[in-house]
């Protein structure tokens, strides 16, 4: 954070470049690629949510898909009932946040941490999957929306202009909304981390005991981080459902939960841009692997992951930063040291 605070010009330049890319992309790519980018951006929001709570709050959630899925279902159910996507997006953010608050209270005030926390979040996701999966019958409807069990809910209305349900966004506008949301969430989390709350959260991650001796309540801080993460994941869920116009219980699947962890690890834990980069890379890889017939898809993906862990253990972005730091500040060597020190030692253990 100190590095970023010290280089405001660079940050503004990066933001401007991101916004420019957002606007320019539809000019250069065909509609299929644009829709693929839209999906990646929706997943990027999900990656940010875990990158935030894990990298900056030290909370390793195995079940971030619980909030993602709740957000997706909340959006689908409310947009079908309300007819207008504006309120539905709000509900898709609020419901997972409330759920995260309840679950977080249960967990953090019970002083559950470490891998136990991981198992609880994993289990909650499994419960949601089982329960939603069992709603195939006619009797499971919320208002006008039938939950549909394993088959899911097809033809969910996509985003419309705020307040005007008849103006449905076309794919290009959908990209602006999704990519814009990704940039917005990124900037918002950056600002949050620079606020006193963000600094205390990092202090708690580094050393809970010391933080509490300084008068902060680590339980409350962690709860706050967790709720923010839940809200962001919920937004990601709504964006995802908007992309495919479809939601099914596989949104809660264990494999997706594991994949988010992979995105964050591949991109680099303890950064915000890393998870997004990791997410884009792995998603792209996934979609490319299925188009070839020579190797079994599982085989190829598995081999790539293993090679990655062995060759780039820190993740992509921190490795690049270290390299860049070395190249730029080769004589002083201090920059490289700061980068290493910034890595959350505890969360990696």
């Amino acid at each position: 954070m100190t590095r970023f605070a010290g280089r405001p010009l660079l940050n503004w330049a990066a933001l401007a470049a991101a916004v420019a890319a957002l606007i320019a992309v539809p000019e250069f790519v065909e509609i299929f690629t644009l829709m693929q980018f839209t999906l990646f951006a929706a997943m990027g929001v999900l990656a940010l949510s875990l990158g935030f709570i894990w990298g900056y709050g030290g909370i390793l959630s195995f079940g971030q898909t619980a909030f993602f899925g709740l957000g997706g279902y909340a959006y689908a159910v409310s947009v079908i009932n309300l007819g207008d996507s504006t309120g539905a997006i709000g509900i898709a953010i609020a419901l997972p946040a409330v759920f995260a608050a309840i679950l977080g209270y249960f967990v953090f005030y019970g002083r559950i941490s470490d891998v136990y926390l991981g198992v609880i979040t994993l289990t909650v996701t499994l419960i949601l999957f089982n329960v939603v999966n069992a709603t195939a019958g006619d009797e499971y409807r919320i208002g006008a929306a039938a939950l549909g069990g394993f088959n899911g809910m097809p033809s969910v209305p996509t985003f419309n202009m705020p307040g005007n349900p008849s103006m449905v966004l076309d794919p290009t506008q959908g990209w602006y909304a999704t990519g814009g949301a990704l940039i917005f969430v990124y900037v918002a989390l950056r600002l949050l981390l620079r606020s006193p709350f963000g600094r205390i959260a990092v202090a708690v991650r580094e050393n809970e005991v010391r933080a509490s001796l300084l008068g902060y309540d680590p339980r409350l801080i962690k709860l706050g981080v967790f709720v923010v993460g839940g809200a962001v994941a919920g937004l990601g869920g709504a964006l995802y459902v908007n992309w495919g116009a479809f939601v099914s219980p596989t949104i809660f699947a264990l494999s997706l939960s594991a994949e988010i962890i992979i995105w964050v690890t591949v991109g680099g834990l303890g950064t915000l841009i890393g998870p997004v980069v990791g997410c884009f890379m792995i998603q792209y890889l996934d979609s490319q692997i299925g188009t070839q017939q020579t190797f079994n898809s599982n085989l190829a993906l598995g081999a790539i992951l293993i090679v990655f862990v062995l060759l780039l253990p820190q993740g992509l972005i921190p490795t690049l930063r270290t390299l860049a730091g070395r190249a730029i500040a080769a004589p002083s060597r201090t920059a490289a040291k700061t980068t290493v020190a910034e890595r959350p030692a505890e969360a990696r253990q």
């Binding site: 891998v115 962890i261 190797f295 599982n298 598995g302």
Partner: protein
């Protein structure tokens, strides 16, 4: 009365399968703090080893009880040497690597043997209790589970290897100072954990659908059980398996299998909330 007896057998069966599935994981995770997401694939490899050698004409008992654990044990040692040993102390990286490993193993087995394979029939017959029937295989599974618990206890408590292994897990630096080679101990422990998991796969082969993706059904439940059990390998695994086996089977019998699963998961959450260190962290402190 007969029905109660049959249900008791179901509970016994559920608990015994869980013990077999979790014991290997308890060693790998509980002792070495390696989150092995390829645990389910070790089960699958054990089942495949059994099915393939039995179909090649080998005696089914040898296939289950000897070939499966030996094969998966060797695979475990190879994996430890080539992959896991670079990652000790890096919990998250081991997760990522073993997730990749699990995909790799599934892909490899599918490439070699296709998506389905001819299974083996269940050995031993059935018996009747009044109007109800059950199989001797259920009893056999329970017996093997007990033997495995006893065996691990004896090895860990009574042999030199067990002593050295426990010491290494507690403090590798100190053990190394005393002339132990920690790297070797880690390799052995990982191999033993894998072998026990392979045995579980071999024993489940005759009563389950053997397909490359079968491991996915086991890994989450095994983790919840091991974490619920806490740090003591034996006491934790046995008590958590017994409890969860009971809840799951009774829940499935009296409601539906869906609620059986949901009740199991909810009780796991409550258990971890009440006993954050697992069952053995509270009741069997200092035991194995």
């Amino acid at each position: 009365m007969d029905l109660a007896f049959i249900i008791a057998l179901d509970v016994l069966n559920g608990a015994a399968s869980l013990v077999l599935l979790c014991l290997g994981l308890a060693i790998i995770f509980g002792m070495m703090r390696v989150i092995n997401l390829a645990h389910g694939e070790f089960v699958m490899l054990g089942a495949y080893a059994t099915v393939i050698s039995a179909n090649a004409g080998l005696n089914i008992w040898i296939a289950m009880l000897v070939v499966a654990p030996l094969f998966v044990g060797v695979v475990g040692i190879v994996i430890e040497r080539c992959l896991i040993r670079f990652l000790y102390g890096r919990l998250v990286d081991t997760m990522l690597a073993t997730w990749g490993l699990s995909l790799l193993i599934v892909g490899l087995v599918t490439t070699l043997y296709g998506n389905t394979i001819k299974g083996v029939p269940t050995p031993l017959g059935g018996f009747s209790v009044g109007a109800y029937k059950s199989s001797y295989y259920t009893l056999f599974l329970a017996a093997v589970a007990l033997v495995m618990l006893a065996l691990v206890y004896v090895v860990m408590r009574r042999t030199r290897f067990g002593l050295v292994a426990r010491a290494t897990m507690q403090n590798p630096g100190m053990a190394a100072t005393l002339g132990v080679n920690p790297s070797r101990i880690y390799m052995m422990s990982f191999g033993i954990g894998a072998a026990i998991t392979g045995l579980a796969g071999g024993l489940l082969a005759p009563v389950s659908g053997v397909v490359p993706t079968m491991g996915a059904a086991y890994v989450a439940k095994a983790f919840i059980t091991v974490v619920g059990g806490g740090s003591a390998i034996l006491a934790g695994t046995a008590s958590a398996s017994g409890l969860f086996g009971l809840i799951n089977q009774l829940g499935s019998y009296f409601t539906t299998p869906v609620f059986g699963e949901v009740i199991l998961f909810i009780s796991a959450i409550i258990l971890i909330r009440i006993l954050p260190q697992g069952i053995s962290g509270r009741f069997f402190k200092g035991s194995l």
